[in-house]
Structures are given as structure tokens and as C-alpha cells.
Symmetry: D3
Subunit: 180 residues, 6 copies
């Protein structure tokens, strides 16, 4: 597969349509859990997942998104994507992971890989991560990676009919280059 090897167990692979069913299964199993993240919470049917994948692929073809799935020992366990603004040389990272694999540092490693990709290969200058403020585990990832907390957006995201605040974190290429 066309992949970015993160460690001996984990790799990221560009999301393809043939992954839609595996992706949908993990979303369905983790619906409540994913609801704490910024993405995917509105997906209901396999058709929704396929539309989501098709839109991501169109964005990839347009150069505005790097959509990937996270694989652990060849099993799909989550996703991580990069949304890119070439004009501002910046990107944002969005991610979620199956509950079962949480708390093992997988997400942090995957983010690190995406950051390396964004700064070193795509030559971007700034990366943003936006997490639900209440989701301590999700916020811990940018904090652990040296992102600066740059703001708190009130009622920024609508999830399950409720509006949640989000915490926004930023990282600059110069910080990453010096720091890792």
C-alpha cells in the first residue's frame, strides 16, 4: 500500500474507496467515542461514509487535503487528515482513533508523522489542531507535541445537537525544526 510508516506496527495510508467498508465499521463501533472528536460524528450509513471518502479524494486531487487512515498491524483503527491552505502555507490536522487503541500513544505518533510530512515535505509553515475543549485526552495530543494554545472558541462545534467549545493550538515550522 502507499503508506507512511510510523513505527513497526502503525502506518498511515491515503484513504481509498475500497477502505470505505472497513472505515465505516470502525466508525459505527465507536460512534459515541468519536462524538468527542471533531469529525465523522454525523455519519450514519455506509453511503455517508462513501460520500465522505469521495469528497476527501476530490480534495486530495485538488491538492487541499491529505486524507489517511491509520492502520495498526494491518487493521484500520482510525483516521488522520491534513487540510491545506497553500496561500497561507498552513494546514490543520483532524483525527480520531478507535477507543480500543486510545491511550497507547498511537495518535501522538501519527500526528508527529503528519507534522513531519507537512513541514518537511510540503514545506508548510504553520499547523493547527482544534480539539473539543472538554475532551482532555484529545487536547493532550497537541500539548504533548509542543503546540501553543492559541485560543478557545466558544460554541464552535455542533456535535449531537449540542454546541461545544473548542481549544485551538498552533505550531510553527521553526518551533518544530528546533524542537525535534
Amino acid at each position: 500500500m502507499f503508506k507512511y510508516q510510523v513505527d513497526e506496527h502503525i502506518y498511515l495510508a491515503i484513504t481509498e474507496m475500497r477502505h470505505a467498508e472497513a472505515l465505516h465499521s470502525v466508525i459505527v463501533e465507536n460512534r459515541d467515542h468519536i462524538g468527542q472528536f471533531l469529525m465523522f460524528a454525523r455519519i450514519q450509513t455506509l453511503e455517508d461514509t462513501k460520500s465522505f471518502v469521495q469528497a476527501s479524494l476530490s480534495n486530495f486531487a485538488a491538492g487541499t487535503e491529505i486524507p489517511t487512515c491509520i492502520w495498526y498491524d494491518n487493521q484500520l483503527i482510525g483516521s488522520i487528515g491534513l487540510r491545506i491552505s497553500q496561500a497561507n502555507r498552513s494546514a490543520s490536522i483532524k483525527y480520531w482513533i478507535s477507543k480500543e487503541y486510545e491511550g497507547k500513544g498511537v495518535m501522538t505518533k501519527c500526528c508527529k508523522a503528519m507534522i513531519n510530512y507537512a513541514f518537511r515535505e510540503l514545506k508548510l509553515n504553520r499547523i493547527e489542531i482544534r480539539a473539543i475543549k472538554e475532551n482532555v485526552r484529545s487536547r493532550a495530543i497537541p500539548e504533548r507535541l509542543g503546540f501553543k494554545h492559541e485560543g478557545t472558541f466558544r460554541q464552535d462545534v455542533k456535535l449531537n445537537d449540542e454546541l461545544a467549545d473548542s481549544s485551538v493550538y498552533g505550531l510553527l515550522a521553526e518551533e518544530w525544526n528546533s524542537g525535534s
Copy 2:
């Protein structure tokens, strides 16, 4: 014209292709000045302006943008637009105004009109304004209108080959409803 009357001199009108030449003239005359705002700074030719207008009209047709020009005594003097996320019931406002009309409260009045439109007609819940941090005059607008400063994004915007920090402000429907 299909317009939103702001006061006896000022109205906002949905940007149409027939406005492209007037719009382009004001952009060209104000290039240095506009460079301090978040939009339009990359437009060079009339073709660029027309492409910009066409993209805005497509967004309007898709329901994701309300693109308007600001008219003062029937003269085009700037623009103000609403980018909408129905999913999160939120929007952001972007604006710029000709140097000649700055400092007369025009922009503040236009933003107020857009906020009323967003909260009362579109029933949105949150509005964001992002201004270049160094542009005190631009930042004064959300501050004057009761927006909360929610964050400062470092190196967020590339303008004239330099990266500038931006100040992000948020306003909730409940704040506006109670406050105006």
C-alpha cells in the same frame, strides 16, 4: 438593487458580475491599504477579480457564502462577506473598505447589519471575525461590536510574502440578542 439598507447612505448588495469592474477599480486604488485586511490582497488583474466574483457567486448558489459589496451613495466602496457553516450553525465575516471611507463608522455599521442578518434571518449561533493583529483599526471593529477576543493565531496569514499574526474574535447569538 437587491440590497440590505444599512442607513440612508449605505447599503449592502449581493455581488454580481456586472459589479466586477467597479470592484476592481476600488481594489486597485486601495491595494496597499487592502493589504492590511485578510482578503483581496492577491488580486492583480480584472480577470482575477472576475474569477473571485464567479467563485463567490458559486458559493452563494451552494448556500455557503453571502458575498456583498458595500455601496455609499450608490458608489461601491468595499466589500463584506459571510462564510457559513450550516453544520456548526456558525459563520465568519470578512471585510475591507476603501481608505477614503475609513474612520467614519461605515464598516462597523455594515458588520452590524451582517450580524443581524446572520443571527436573525439565517438563525446562526456564532460569528467569527479574524483581523490582522497589527491592524488596530480592523481589530477595533469586533471589539466595538462586543465580540470576545478568543485567540491569537501566530503566522496565520500570508500577505505580500510576509506572515502575519491574526486576532480571532467570536460573538454568540445570545450575546447579541441580549445586547442590541
Copy 3:
């Protein structure tokens, strides 16, 4: 709203997708009545109305149509649209109004507004109105506004599986400018 104020009660507003449900309700309530007009008679479901609105918005973005709804005391009561041929500097007006509001001069006022818009703002030269020949009330509008009867088209329009003749009226900018 972005509107064209016709009088203290009536305004025209660019049709947006969020109006689709209100628009559909009026169409459904007035199906038999609207069947006498040239438009909308083939709409059955809310999906049809939404497709119709989406097509109109695409035409608006392409600069070939000004689709508006007619509002009376903030209630949607009909629609009036302008189809534009820039090449020939001409346009046609199509309209219908809820039965309840018929006979009060509302439609005549709305047409007058559209004609002003077409001649004075869009700088067009000719406007055409085509009405079902049998629909005396509909034909009365162009006649009252000074349009010349320019032709009668036999079996021109298929409505409810029947073919109806249409009366075609034309008005030139020079006539309107001198006459109103």
C-alpha cells in the same frame, strides 16, 4: 434580507434554499390556481421545489436569471423572476402569486419594480411577458403596464396535459423611460 422594497408591505428577495419550504407550501396550496400561470405547475414534491430553487441559483450565479420571491408583511406569497439575454439586451419576466393576494395590485407593483431593475440597473432594452391567453387576469398585468401585444402563440404551453395559447407582450426601454 437582501431585498428590493416595492412598497411598505411588499418586497422582492433573491430566492435562497432556506426559502424552499415556505415556497413549496404556497405552491401546494395554490396548485390549481398556479396552473393558470406559466411556471411551477409541474412541481409535485418538496424535492422538486428544491431542485427548482437550486437551478435558479445556478442561473443567478451564471448571470442569466434574477430569481426572487414576493414577500408581503414578511410572508412569502409568490415569485417573480427575470430571465436575461445579455447578447440581445433583453429579458422576460415570469410570475405567479397566491390566490389570496390576487386582485390587489401586488403583481403589477412587483412587475414595475422588476422592470425598473431591468431597464435602469441592468441597462436592458426590451422586456417580454408571456401569459396564458385564457388567463385574463394574468394578461391584464402587461396591458396595464403599457406593454404592446406583439403576438399570440398557438398551443405554446403544455399545462396539466393540455396545450394552451399564449399572449406575448413586449416593452422597450424607451417606452418605459418616457412613460413612467
Copy 4:
């Protein structure tokens, strides 16, 4: 070729992109002459002709147009097209012919073929021909074919920066069926 044989010398063939150069040559040679007809007068370059052909082919694929060229002894000498409204079971015919072949009854024969195609194969009910009022030769065609003069549209068509009146003629299936 996929054609409609009109007589032993003349046939109509669906316009294809490979005909664009031959078509463009005839348009260029006949520019002043064609200016008297309703179509093609705005074409300047071969690119314009190709765009015109491409648009016609898209309409053909959408079922709204039958675009054909007129061939005389295997030489392209003009064009004739049918614009179709399935909803109203009607169509309009537009045509022009090279000056050299005018006055020989070619155009009348081609129209007759198109009318047969429209009424007998496409099962349409009404055909309209619109000619420049001043162009006596062009108007003679519908008159000769039994069309009824249904109206005169003032300043209906802009040709070479002048506005011309048009004469509109209609023919019903029942008239053709009984009459030919």
C-alpha cells in the same frame, strides 16, 4: 455519415467537431450575409466556432438540440438546428445558408426535412421560426411552408450593434399533417 437525406444533392448531418474548420470557413466567407440571420453573427475566430460546436454537442447529449450542418454534393454550405422543449412538446428552427446557395430552394427543403423529423419522429406539436423582419428572403421560408405569422417582436435581436425586429411564425403538427 449519419445523415438525413433531403434530396439527391442535399443532406443534413449532426454537426461534429471535425466539421468545425469547414463550418468556420463558410461562416467567415459569408459574414455579412449571415449577419441577416439570427445565428452565428457573433463568431469571430475558429476557437469561437469550436466553442459553438461543443456547446451544440452538449445540448444534443442533453436532448435539447439537434444541431446539423447542411451539405450539398458533400460540401458544407450552411446549418440548421432544432431547439427542443420536451415540456411543451415544441421546438424552434434556426438556419442560415451560404450566399452562393441562396435562392435555390435549398433552405426550404431543409426546413421541410427538419419539420418532418420534429413532428413525425420526435412527436412534437409546435414549431416556431423567428426571422429578422427586414430579411424578406428569410421570412419567405416559413411563409412558403404554411407557418402562421403569430407576432412581431420589436427590437428583439441585437446584430452588429443594432437592434432588429423579428417576425415569429408558428406551425402546428395538425396543420402539417393535414397539409403535406
Copy 5:
């Protein structure tokens, strides 16, 4: 109709949407039989047939396909299409015919017409026919027409969940010109 007259009974006509129902009927009646050919075997519903026709028309508008139906005494009995590569000046022919009309030389005559069209009008240089290896009758057509057998592709085509070998035949313009 716009057609290519093959003999006094048979003609080919560009496939139009209005033929979809007649086409679908013949496909349904001949499903088992058509399964031996390379095309159409996956069509189930009238919607499938319409999608197929729409795709063919888009290809025709793009200049990459000449899709036709075969008519015998004004009855639709099969289809034959040309897929074109302008870059390589080559094309392939695909065909099927209703069981009832098989064995009468109809298909051979239709192919001959298409070959003449491709070599003499479209000025192509090479034509390919690919037939299911097991379908002796289908293979007999290129053999009878002087095509050279150029290869056998193993498990080339999936039909009814089985993989079939195909026989590929080629014919060059120089061979046809000298030979017929």
C-alpha cells in the same frame, strides 16, 4: 432520422435518449444471448439503460464514441458503437444483435458500414474488434471481414461472474482500402 443506410432494410442511427425504452426491451428479451457479447450484460433496469445511453451521448459530444442502434425495417434490433482514440488514429468496434436477427449477415453488413465510416470519413488507421473466444458466431464477423487475428487475451472479460478469454482482431486502413 439521422442515419447511415446500410442496405434497403437496415440502417444505423445515433442512439438518442428517446430510444432508451426500445433499446431496453431488446436487451431484456435477449439477456442470455447478449451475455455472450462484450457489452450490455450488466444492465438490469431501464435506469441502467438510460445511464448507459447518457454516458454514450457524453462520449459522442466529447468525440470519443459513435454510439448507434441498429434498425431493421424501422425496428431496433441491436447496437454497434465505435470507441475512438484520435491520438493513435484507431478505434474499436463493439456490437450485439437480437437473437432473432442473428445468422442473416446483418451484423457483418453493419460492421462494414462502421469500418467505411471510420476509415473513409474519420480517416482513422486501425480498427480493433474484441470477441469472446468461445463465441464462434461473434468471432466469425471480424474473420469474414478480413481482420487479422492479433492475439488472445486470457481471462480478459468478466461476464455473469465468470472470466472469459477474448480474441482480438485488427484491421488497417491500407488493408481495407486495397480489399473492398
Copy 6:
């Protein structure tokens, strides 16, 4: 990068727009050499290369192509792509490599990787390679990999205004699975 590691020096990476300039340089340097292969020979300008990349990305998004560049010690040295027919569970491989890297087994290794990807990950059943018959080096690749020679297509490909024969090779999943 999202890549398929072939050996310690070589990897394949999905072609992205940011690779267009590097890709174009290698094409320009190798124009005569590439002319012996089936692809890219018609590219002249950087714009051509960008159009080619954009078309490949659209195909990737549609699931019909896996377009990759070949990298050797992080330098772009050629390309290899997979065109997929899901309906027939088959694909074809197209490739070219910079002259400098020819004769070192790079291409054979890259094909092997693509074949593994096609059979094991995409679960396809048949792979085709088509090489210019005169290009002995290019033909050696499928022969070395165990493909069966299934046909020779006369005047199949137009390269530099000349028509060349092609040799077509096929490989089945069952052959690969048993043989490697």
C-alpha cells in the same frame, strides 16, 4: 511521503501536483528516450505535465488509476501507473524510466511491486503490459516477470508521427501467486 518501498533505494509515491516540476524536468531530459515508451511522448510544456498530473489525480479519485512516480534515493527518475477496470477485475501497467537509470533492474522491481499491489491488495485477476514491439528493453520486462505474450497489435500506437506495433503481455493472479 506516502509511498510503496520497493527496496532500500527505490520507492513509488502517488504522483502529486507538487511533483509536476521535477517530473517535467525528467521528461524533458529524456524526451527521445521516452519516445520509445507508450506514455508521455506528447508532453511539451510544463502546463502539459500539470494537465497530465491533474488528469491522473482525477482518475485516482475515481478509483480507475494508481499514478505513481519512481524515486531513487529521493530523486524522481520515472513513473509507473496502474489503469484499473473493476468490472473485469483487470489492470494495465504503463511505465517509463530515465535513460540514466535504465539497465539496472529498477523497472523490473517497480513492476513487481505494482503487480503485488494489484493482485494482493486490490485483488485484481489480470494484468496487461503493452510495449512497443521494437523496444526490446521495454519488452524484456514483462518477459522477465513471467507474463505470457498474448498478441501483437499492428500500427497500434502513434509516436512522433509514426505508427508502431505493440506487443501485448498478460499475467493472471493464479500465475503470480504460484510463481512468486
